[in-house]
Amino acid sequence: MPAVQETIDRVRKIDVDQYKYGFQTEIEMDKAPKGLSEDIIRLISEKKGEPDWMLEWRLGAFRRWLTLEEPTWARVRYPKIDFQDIHYYAAPKSTPGPTSLSEVDPELLKVYEKLGIPLKEQEILAGVQKTEESELEEANDNVYKSGRVAVDAVFDSVSVVTTFKKELAQAGVIFCSISEAIREHPELVQKYLGSVVPTTDNFYATLNSAVFTDGSFVFVPKGVRCPMELSTYFRINEKNTGQFERTLIIAEEGAYVSYLEGCTAPQRDENQLHAAVVELIALDDAEIKYSTVQNWYPGDAEGKGGVYNFVTKRGDCRGDRSKISWTQVETGSAITWKYPSCILRGDDSSGEFYSIAVSNGYQQVDSGTKMIHLGQNTSSRIISKGIAAGFSQNTYRGQVSAHRKAANARNFTNCDSLLIGDQCGAHTVPYMEAKNSTAQFEHEATTSKISEDQKFYVMQRGIPEEEAIALIVNGFVKDVIQQLPMEFAVEAQKLIGISLEGSVG
């Protein structure tokens, strides 16, 4: 498969320990002073031109947050965060609200160009040609279809550009920044915001509710199949700035949408805070596919710097026969604390969680999922692949529960860990709880090490050591890569190769 070759090429070009997206950009910023108070929240709300109900919602969350304590149950260790030492709002000065690419600060566009994000619609339109390679790719179960992607780009605290808006609008799909949605579609936001992750949910989600600055909003009306992939790229640029994005996706009856988020940040010695909340709502017969390629700066080889990633993601299969699928490729961040979950409320609803978590250097990952079976005949599937290298710690933490009325709930869980080297750790912490005797839960877990035998065998065919490891790892994660939208599967494979750079020897 060409992707492996590309991984190899890409890895070769990079010096050890060089985070590709670590550049920072000098853009004139409009920043709130450091610290968190009701005044700061009022300022954020005012900057965003929000209605009063939104401000009240934020303030309510903030008051609640003041009563909460940081959770300590995850297997991650980091110094105490000073929440008063962070800017809660930073925006490039030239925005508010560009309506087309030509109105966007060219410096900003350069940033996205460097990130390889296809903002220019014509590039996206070009798509991927189906070529003579198709026969081979078929052999590899990996046929890349041509496709187009609508992009929303979020820079620090604001969304700077959203593409393909018109075409989406024709289909009845709303895809815009959450700030815009609050102004333009308040009835939808009011109805659904906080209905999956309430403002009282947990320390970080509550903080996010108080100070969230931007994020994406997607609404797919009844019976509509969203005509293209939707995608958001998040970037933290400013120093000492927290990124608190809020994403809300609603698929009405029979609707379908596939959404992808990507994230990067500059290379800095200080730690940056990222605390996002994502809420998904699927009504009867609706399906939402949510994919993440998370590549926040992981810190340097000594473990200095890097993003603290505390994220609450939850999907509500509110309707019967609804389906929510999470796929994540986690390669970045110094600390990852993230459990994309599904509430299987509707009868016959199903939830999926496919995850690849790669940790290297001194990264700490504590990630997994929750599958909460409430409705009848609900099913869930969890496939988690953890890869630990260097001095990293990689934990899968999952919960599967069937409530009293969840007759015939079914779950299949498979957690595999792969260790590279002998200084890293992999941990699996599954909780299972069935309050209904008809529930069927299955759990499989393996931990393996890339064996010297395997590596020797691959190298004996002329494949150099790093490429040999990349090949074996790509094989290990294949089940999950296949769940990603075609356009991003290749990207994800490259990223995994890059993340493991320097893990050998």
Partner: protein, 251 residues
């Protein structure tokens, strides 16, 4: 092509010396059989030729085309044209055989400064080679060696050997675990690779394989040394009289 001079080698972990002053020369175009009882160091020799790190060469040298290869890692040796057909090929989950072949072939081409193979050309070569070995193309879509039968694994080894076009082929107990039909197919595959530019070292416990791959020379390995060399009749001797006679002679 291959010249092993007074080679001494031991296991890194526990220091056990396995190869103790081994001398062997194999010329281009030659098929050399290495025979010997269990524990004589046959498989170890194949690993050392391929550059496995678990073994440490303490004395002597291995020359390949007059150059020492001791400082080269396994991938560099492979790229230089040394191929080892494993006695126990490793399973590589999630990596389709076809994909593996393509990566390996193109890595070697890249190391030689050649362009990667165009897909149609690659497919053509694979199809031809697979047909010769009586292999189903569908099998090549499966992850390499995962769930392959013993015979399928050995055939997959020969397929790789054929496609990578090595100059020095080392076959480690390629006959083990094969029934007679599979043995014949594998032997035909190897025979098709015989050429004046290529040397083939066949490591085997039994004479059986040598009925199908007729060697130019036969060397008996015992306690890490070649204790006797001869032509193909030596293999027949061993078949009839066992190793005891040869060992007794040497001692």
């Amino acid at each position: 092509m291959l010249e092993i001079k007074n080679l001494h080698a031991r296991i890194v972990d526990d220091g056990t010396e396995i190869i103790r002053g081994l001398n062997l020369t194999v010329k281009a175009g030659e098929v050399a059989a290495i025979m010997g009882p269990n524990g004589s160091g046959k498989s170890t020799l194949s690993y050392i030729l391929a550059g496995r790190e678990d073994y440490e060469v303490t004395e002597g040298d291995i020359l390949y085309n007059d150059q020492s290869i001791l400082e080269m890692d396994p991938a560099e040796r492979a790229t230089a044209g040394i191929f080892l057909a494993f006695q126990y090929p490793m399973e590589i989950p999630g990596v389709a055989t076809m994909e593996f072949l393509k990566v390996a072939m193109n890595e070697q081409r890249k190391a030689r400064g050649e362009e990667p193979l165009k897909v149609p050309e690659f497919l053509k070569r694979v199809k031809e080679a697979a047909a010769l070995l009586n292999m189903d193309m569908n099998m090549l879509k499966r992850p390499l060696n995962v769930g392959f039968s013993g015979g399928e694994k050995k055939r997959a080894e020969i397929l790789q050997m054929k496609l990578l076009e090595p100059k020095l082929c080392v076959l480690d107990e390629t006959d083990s675990g094969l029934d007679i039909d599979a043995l014949k197919i594998v032997a035909d595959g190897v025979n098709a690779l015989r050429s004046p530019e290529r040397a083939i070292v066949v490591i085997t416990h039994y004479q059986r394989l040598l009925e199908h791959i007729v060697p130019d020379s036969v060397h008996v390995l015992y306690k890490g040394q070649v204790i006797k060399s001869g032509d193909k009749s030596l293999a027949l001797d061993l078949e009839t009289n066992g190793y005891a006679g040869v060992i007794g002679e040497a001692a």
